[in-house]
Each structure stands twice: as C-alpha cells, then as structure tokens.
C-alpha cells in the first residue's frame, strides 16, 4: 500500500496556492493535513498528479473569534481548533464533532477546513459546520468569494468549489446566549467510522425554542438538514414529547443507503435515536446558559 507517484508543490500563501491550482489544472489537489487524502492514495483510490501543500502559508494558519463568528484558516489543525477557547465559547458543537473525528494523532495533523472541503457526508466536522451555519471562503485565480455553508455541500465528496478554487478559511456563525448544542454519533467501535450522527443546536427564549438547527450525517449524500424537525421544534417548549416528534420528523423521509457498516433501515433508526438524544442534551445546555 504505497501511494502512486505525484508531484509535490508547496504554496507560501493563499494566492500562491490558487495560482498553482490554476496552473496545474484539474489533476491537482490541495494537501493540508492529508489525513483523509493520504489513506485514499495509499489504498490507490485517489491518484492526483499534483499536490499543493498549503500548511506553510502563514495567511492560512489562523483561528480566532470576533463578532462575526469563529474564523478558521485552512491550515488550522483539528486538535488546535478542538481545544481552542474561542471554539469552546463560540462553536462548542464543532469542538464536540472534532473530538469524535479520528484519533488524537490524526487530529494533530488533520485540518478542520480539509475535512469540510473533503465533504464526506458521514464525517463529523462538515455536519457540525452545517448545523451551526457559516460561510466558506473560496479563492481562485479570479479572486475570492463567500459560499454559505448551506450551499457548499453538493454530493458525495463534492462541493460548490469550482475548478482551481481552494477553501482558504471558514467562518462559523455565532449563536446568541441561550443556545445549547448536541452532537452524537454511533459507531460500532469507539474508533471506527460513524454509521450515523446528529448535530443540533437550539436557542431558547422565555422557555420556548425560537431557533433550531438539526443536521444528520451518514444518511444521505450530504450532511442533511432536517427542516421538518426544525419546524416542529421552533415555537415549542423543550420536552421529551417535542424532541421525540422532532426526531421522528428528522428520520422520516430519509432513505439512507446500506453498506458494510449498517443497513439503511438501521441508519434511519439511529438517526431518530441520536436526534432525540442530541436535542435532549442541547436543551439542558440551553437551559443552563439562560
């Protein structure tokens, strides 16, 4: 299991990376931590002709929060983001998601943005990012643009990025005080890939839920928002009944595929259980903050 040959390039800045992508063409891939890409290359399931390493670009390294949310540069490592005080304050659902993603040594090397750009629909980080909401900053030879998280994931390992574009950063929107989050996944062993997961946020005000986000992973070709569940939650009082109804709505209408990890029917069942439990946790946290 050795990687096929490729040509390695190192970008000193976001602009240089964009220029290299433009120059090298469709067979070039961004290399950040490589924790998703390199296993695929070793398995010879991916064979890019060119890799552009962006981890040494100083303008991609940052992480920090301001009024606009939590900004995460494309070179920021998962473990750094997971433990960062700004993440814990601004986007704890992301921290929870990262803590479930891979093992610590993998998170030392892997990046948050890399996981989002890889767009594995079963992965933790994309689901949490979509659940909290935010924007993806994409840069190509033609300049930069912002893509809402809602529009970024288009299919299995497929995103709204155009050819020659890379993600330079993501911004995770801040939610107001009174927000609670829940992130739960089910995997067969503690360290194996999740079969299904739920990332939820709710905001309560005056004892009622006035904002809710429910996103499922592992059940569709993208991290899947469940508007029917959110509609049930908004306006209701946090309760076991409301969460069960929302969980049922979240699982209704999804048609997950079967694979060696689990059947579609099992995934659907898990989606419901995990959503209900994640909402229960989120409500406790929302209450605690209020």
């Amino acid at each position: 299991m050795k990687s096929p040959p490729f040509e390695y390039h190192r970008a000193g800045s976001a602009a240089e990376a964009a220029a290299l992508l433009g120059e090298l063409g469709f067979d070039a891939r961004i290399l950040a931590g490589g924790q998703s890409l390199i296993p695929l290359m070793n398995l010879r399931l991916a064979a890019p002709a060119y890799l552009v390493d962006i981890t040494r670009a100083p303008d991609l390294a940052g992480i920090g929060a301001d009024g606009g949310g939590l900004h995460i540069g494309a070179a920021a490592r998962q473990r750094t983001v997971e433990l960062h005080t700004d993440t814990l304050a601004t986007a704890p659902v992301l921290s929870d998601a990262i803590s479930n993603a891979g093992q610590v040594p993998v998170r030392h090397q892997g990046t948050v943005v890399g996981s989002i750009a890889h767009a594995d629909p079963s992965a933790e980080v994309p689901a949490a990012f979509k659940a909290q909401g935010g924007t993806v900053t994409a840069q190509g030879s033609g300049g930069t643009r912002e893509i809402p998280s809602e529009d970024f994931f288009e299919g299995y390992f497929t995103t709204a990025l155009a050819e020659g574009e890379l993600v330079t950063a993501v911004t995770v929107d801040a939610w107001p005080a009174g927000t609670g989050h829940g992130f739960l996944e089910f995997s067969v062993t503690a360290e194996s890939w999740p079969i299904a997961l739920a990332a939820v946020l709710i905001h309560t005000s005056g004892g009622k839920i006035d904002r809710a986000s429910v996103v499922l992973g592992g059940v569709a070709e993208v991290p899947l928002r469940r508007p029917e569940a959110e509609a049930i939650l908004v306006g209701s009082t946090p309760s076991a009944e409301a969460f069960e109804a929302a969980a049922e709505a979240a699982a209704a209408g999804i048609e997950p595929l079967s694979d060696s990890f689990g059947s579609g029917a099992y995934r659907k069942k898990l989606a419901r259980v995990l959503t209900r439990r994640a909402l229960t946790t989120a409500a406790e946290r929302a209450g605690g903050k209020a």
Binding site: K2, F6, G34, P39, N42, D53, Q103, V106, Q109
Partner: protein, 160 residues
C-alpha cells in the same frame, strides 16, 4: 513524480535527505534512516503502530509524506533509551508486561509519553481513553493502562 531535499531533526540529530514526494514519513524513517522501531501495520492511519512525535505531538507517520515533515523535530522510539537504562515508561511497560508481541509497543510508548506529558496526573479512564488511539491486538490494553499510570506516578515522584 518529484523528489525533494528535506532537512529534519530526528531524535536530536539534523539530517538532510532527498526523498521522492510519495515517500511516507514511516518509510523514510525505516528505510532511509534505518530507524526500524517505527512500525507499519495498516498504512491507512487506523492502527497507530507508526506513531511518532513531531514537535512533541503524536502523528501517524504512515499517512504523512516525508516531504511534509521538512524542518520538523521528530522523535522516534529509538530516542527513549539511548543508553543502557530504559526510560521509566519502558520500565513500567516491562514491569507490568504491557506488551506481548511488541509490535504496537513503540507507538504505544510514544503516545503514552505524550499523555503523561500533557497530564502527569492522569486517571485510569484518561489513560485508557488516551491510548485508544492505538491498536494492540495482544494485551487487551489492561496492562498498558497499568503501565502508563505507574510510569506517570514514577515520573511525578522523580519531578519532586
């Protein structure tokens, strides 16, 4: 295909080499530097036999290209006991029989070292959770947990 000149500091010694871009860090350490204590079990980042420390942080050297490590400070198992005496963590593994076939052991030791350095007072639960990053097929992990805890206690005592 491309080759690159890299400089890395391995176990305190700066080394320059020319590597093919696809050369994994694990293969580089094993075959180019002869540091065969870093083992290869799966080459997909699952098992952790290839764990090394870069800047004191554990990484999987089988899913990292050597060229990515250019400029890095790398620590492998060979650094733990350069002389006659074993490192306290190695001694604890020996005392508790925290190994059988020995194949996961270098990765476990380096990961254990990181855990203790991050949290010298770690609990059994924290030790177990910490080493769950690395597979062991022989021991069922229990004596490894014992060894990590015992070594942490010993290293705390040495600090005092």
């Amino acid at each position: 295909m491309s080759t690159h000149d890299i400089t890395v500091t391995v176990n305190g010694t700066a080394t320059s080499a020319s590597v093919e871009a696809r050369r994994s860090l694990a293969d580089f350490l094993r075959h180019d530097l002869g540091l065969v204590g870093t083992h290869i079990g799966c080459e997909q980042g699952a098992c952790g036999a290839c764990t090394v420390l870069i800047g004191g942080r554990s990484v999987r050297s089988c899913i990292m290209f050597a060229v990515q490590a250019d400029g890095a400070e790398i620590q492998t198992i060979e650094s733990l006991a350069p002389g006659a005496d074993l490192h306290p963590l190695q001694e604890a593994f020996r005392r508790h029989q925290g190994l059988q076939c020995g194949f996961c052991t270098p990765g476990m030791l380096l990961r254990g070292l990181e855990l203790i350095s991050d949290n010298p007072d770690l609990t059994a639960e924290e030790a177990r959770e910490g080493i769950s990053s690395n597979m062991c097929r022989c021991t069922g992990y229990q004596y490894i947990v014992d060894a990590v805890l015992d070594a942490a206690a010993e290293m705390r005592a040495e600090e005092d």
